[in-house]
């Protein structure tokens, strides 16, 4: 009985401690910016995609329209044919067009979410440490010494995603690695051109 009392006391002290620490670090307006595109209008990446051991490649083009503050994101084959096209505005991404070569609804939705992390505005976050932040939707952002996002993580049992951003040049990452857990989907983007 005495042991039960001690355990209860310890548990309640841990509970109250965790509540009080979360109060000291509340959500506030984020100073983090989306990894793309900064001051640029257009970025072209070479994409390497691995789905369940099958390898595909192509190009990913991101176009920012500063007036409307929206993005067009297009995936195309190296020979020039459009595979799919997304439109993102106000943190909402929609599929505008998909070729008959890219029919899978599941693949379309995974790709849409992965790409949206590149351009979505990071609104409110809570500091977990000097270089780690958590958004109110549970997304964890890590930053490098220049304050640029170098990792985004969304933890989920299935389809959690981790995105690493490397080698920022002119404010834009040169290499981006996506790893989706539980669905065997990974993608690497390598910057070809920015304007």
């Amino acid at each position: 009985m005495r042991y039960c009392q001690i355990i209860c006391l310890l548990l309640s002290s841990v509970f109250f401690h965790s509540c009080s620490s979360s109060k000291t670090s509340s959500y506030h307006k984020s100073e983090l910016t989306a990894p793309l595109l900064g001051e640029h209008n257009t970025a072209l990446y070479k994409a390497s995609i691995n789905v369940f051991g099958n390898y595909f490649s192509g190009l990913v083009l991101l176009k920012h329209n500063a007036e409307k503050d929206d993005y067009n994101i297009v995936m195309l084959s190296e020979v020039g044919l459009t595979i799919c096209e997304f439109y993102s505005h106000d943190n909402e991404i929609v599929l505008r067009k998909a070729s008959s070569l890219f029919k899978s609804k599941k693949a379309q939705s995974v790709l849409a979410e992965d790409l949206s992390f590149l351009v979505d505005e990071i609104s409110e976050v809570k500091a977990k440490s000097d270089s780690r932040y958590k958004s109110n939707s549970g997304i964890i952002y890590s930053t490098n010494s220049d304050g640029q996002v170098n990792q985004i993580r969304k933890r989920r049992l299935v389809n959690g995603v981790r995105i690493d951003f490397e080698d920022y040049k002119k404010g834009i990452p040169t290499n981006i690695y996506f790893k989706n857990k539980g669905i065997g989907f990974s993608m690497k983007l390598k910057l070809i051109k920015v304007s």
Binding site: N41, T42, L44, K46, S48, Y55, S57, L59, L61, K63, N65, N72, V74, L76, E78, V79, G80, L81, T82, K97, S99, S100, L101, I192, K193, S195
Partner: protein, 209 residues
Amino acid sequence: MKEIIVGILFVMVFSHVNAQKHGKPISVEALQKVMLDKTQEIVSISCDFSQEKQMQYLDEAISSRGKLFFDKNNRLRWEYVDPFEYLIVINDGNFIIETDGRKSEYDIESNKMFSQISELIISSVNGTVFTDDKFNVEAYVDDKQYLVYLEPNIEELKQVIRKIKMRINKSDFSVDQVVMYEEQDDFTEINFLNKQFNEVLPNHLFIVE
């Protein structure tokens, strides 16, 4: 009233389409015969190519360039060198893609998609694409070139390409330009430059280790 407006719009669109097809209409069969005669003399082609992808909302095209080698045994090497490296080799019933240091090999016979892509690439390069019954063909001629318009008539191709325009050189009957139109006026233009005919092409060009 609605019918009249639709009618006017139809005439405007139709005349616009016709206005784009410069040149005098010619018999597809006659051009096909000359092309087949001429292409029989060609043992190999090697050339540079430049590719530009134009999209509705882009201020500038996505440009790339590379090298192409083709021989009479329908072996092809289509190699992008700038701004990315990407290699397609078609040889002995295999469709091979190499990029990022990875090689993927597909058997053309057992893979319908690669079979169609392979046919399309080879027939575009050797100029026999307009003998293919998967397309409805129209041909025109002007002072310098033949213009051939191809519209796919099978559903699988229609979903990928709306129309293909080819410019064929009037003096040597080689293909100067291929333009692939997709939906909404997006298109990819490929220009073949510095063409060399009937050079000996080493075997290693068509082998991917």
